[in-house]
């Protein structure tokens, strides 16, 4: 790990001023940043510790029906908040399907948004990576790339965004609240992360010094609570990043889908909202054929970036399964294995 200066400002304004100096990085729990620093992947010259900043650790119901989640709220605290889990069960399930209990006890909401890709070539300073070193090339293109992106990638970068939490959030239209040198602004989560294009080193819309202070779920986002699931395919039972994942939410009226939300994880460098699929579902009856058509719409335009063509069909199946599970209804309690694709759809076949 490189040497660095350590600062612990006591207000958001002081933190923003401190982190506006080039070479600075914000430190919250550090569960991703310290790992990256130990590997020499990132080498910030100064750490601005925001882990004690006041006013960023609350979960607050706003008068207009929105819910505001402070950036310092820990993943475990949010997932186990009874009111939150009741209103946003797919978000709680996604949180509990990520990382380990120890990491969820430390990791924060803001840090989850800003975690870096787990691409092995990004993590290995001896490999070429345009994200780590712009213009260096991308060793993933000709390397071990079975888990890389199938949507939104470029020849410069085929990495994926690793978050589970962000997948149902983007489906629900979450808003990111940001404080920066130029004041306060808000950005929809859907526009927060950037696709790689020609500049994969630019990962989010954040300008130097800008700090995520909160996430907001808009009024009405809890209308999907009765039919909301997250499904995550992993290469082992637990404690693994998604090969592909899907968050599916339905608002049912009578026997018809009044409104649907669908987002995919593990397929692109950002949590991928599938609006085309949502359009297929709106007004339809919740049937397997409809879910399959929606899943096909979600993966329209997908193409392999290497030895990962299998992920496209896998993502379709996981999306269709998430929709079928959502249609069956949110379970009373989050399953023992959150987001497991191995759980049967009640009343249906295990593999459908």
């Amino acid at each position: 790990m490189n040497r660095f200066d350590y600062l612990r400002p006591s207000t958001v304004a002081e933190a923003v001023a401190a982190a506006s100096v080039p070479g600075s990085a914000y430190l919250a729990a550090g569960t991703n940043l310290l790992d990256l620093m130990k590997g020499g992947v990132v080498r910030p010259e100064r750490l601005v510790d925001v882990s004690r900043l006041p006013g960023l650790d609350g979960i607050e119901a706003l008068p207009d029906g929105a819910l505001r989640i402070g950036a310092r709220v820990r993943n475990a605290d949010l997932a186990h908040d009874r009111d939150f889990a009741r209103r946003f069960p797919a978000v709680a399930e996604a949180l509990l399907s990520g990382a380990s209990a120890q990491l969820r006890n430390a990791a924060t909401v803001g840090g989850n948004l800003l975690q870096r890709t787990r691409c092995a070539y990004f993590y290995d300073p001896a490999s070429a990576c345009n994200k780590r070193e712009p213009g260096a090339g991308c060793d993933a293109l000709e390397g071990e790339n079975r888990l890389h992106a199938v949507l939104g990638w470029s020849e410069r970068c085929i990495a994926t965004h690793p978050s589970d939490f962000c997948v149902p959030l983007v489906a629900l239209g979450a808003i990111v609240e940001i404080e920066g040198p130029a004041g306060r602004r808000e950005v929809p989560l859907e526009e927060f992360h950037l696709l790689p294009g020609e500049t994969p080193e630019r990962e989010s819309v954040l300008a130097p010094g800008e700090l995520v202070v909160a996430l907001r779920l808009p009024p009405g986002a809890d209308a999907f609570a009765a039919h909301a699931r997250y499904v995550k395919l992993r290469e082992r039972t637990s404690y693994a990043f998604a090969v592909v994942s899907a968050a599916a939410m339905l608002r049912m009226e009578g026997g018809t889908i009044a409104e649907a939300r669908l987002a995919l994880g593990g397929v692109a460098l950002k949590p991928w909202r599938a609006r085309e699929a949502e359009a297929v579902l709106a007004g339809a009856r919740p049937e397997a054929a409809t879910f399959r058509r929606a899943a096909e719409a979600a993966l329209e335009g997908a193409r392999p970036s290497g030895e990962n063509g299998f992920k496209i069909e896998l993502a379709r199946r996981i999306a269709a399964r998430a929709l079928a599970l959502a249609a069956a209804g949110t379970p009373e309690r989050i399953p023992a294995l959150p987001a497991s694709p191995m759980a049967p759809v009640s009343g249906g076949a295990l593999h459908g």
């Binding site: 430190l27 569960t31 750490l47 209990a101 120890q102």
Partner: protein, 165 residues
């Protein structure tokens, strides 16, 4: 530049001078306070051998900067036994053969104490296994570990055991 931090470790206030902000909580415990029960396995948050309770919550001490936790309360494996009597989780690990080489065991036990405190797993072995998935055991003593955690939890419920520190 140097920093002075104070931690309550296993119930005792400890003051540590840090000449370098890079010191992790794990290295501080092991190298500065001679509490070598917490193990350094992967040092990257993947194996769980370094698990301690930090302000009552189980965390990977290898991924925590000590300086960032000035004033915190830490419980390590050394702080579990009381008056020479093993903590119920320690006793259950021995009774259920929940280890072989023992290297991961302090982390497993601290994680189990954290899990039981969180109260999310109940008596469901599947939930215990999922809740313990951040602790790897390369000897694969998982069967004994699951049994030990369930047994310790039952016993702690009956005896009204209060958490250490």
């Amino acid at each position: 530049m140097s920093w002075s931090i104070t931690l309550t470790v296993n119930g005792e206030p400890r003051r540590v001078e840090l000449d370098d902000p890079r010191v992790t909580l794990l290295d501080l415990l092991r190298e500065r306070l001679d509490l070598t029960g917490s193990k350094k396995g992967c040092d990257r948050g993947q194996c769980g051998a370094c698990t301690v309770l930090l302000d009552g919550r189980r965390v990977n001490s290898c991924l925590a900067l000590a300086i960032s936790h000035d004033g915190a309360e830490v419980v390590t494996i050394e702080g579990l036994a009381r008056d020479g009597a093993l903590h119920p989780v320690q006793a259950a690990f021995i009774e259920h053969d929940a280890f072989q080489c023992g290297y991961c065991t302090p982390g497993q036990i601290m994680s189990a104490v954290g899990l039981i405190g969180e109260g999310q797993a109940g008596d469901d072995p599947e939930r215990v296994r999922e809740g313990m998935s951040g602790n790897l055991c390369r000897c694969a003593a998982y069967k004994g570990i699951t049994e030990a955690v369930l047994e310790a939890q039952r016993r702690m419920g009956q005896d009204g055991w209060e958490e250490a520190a």
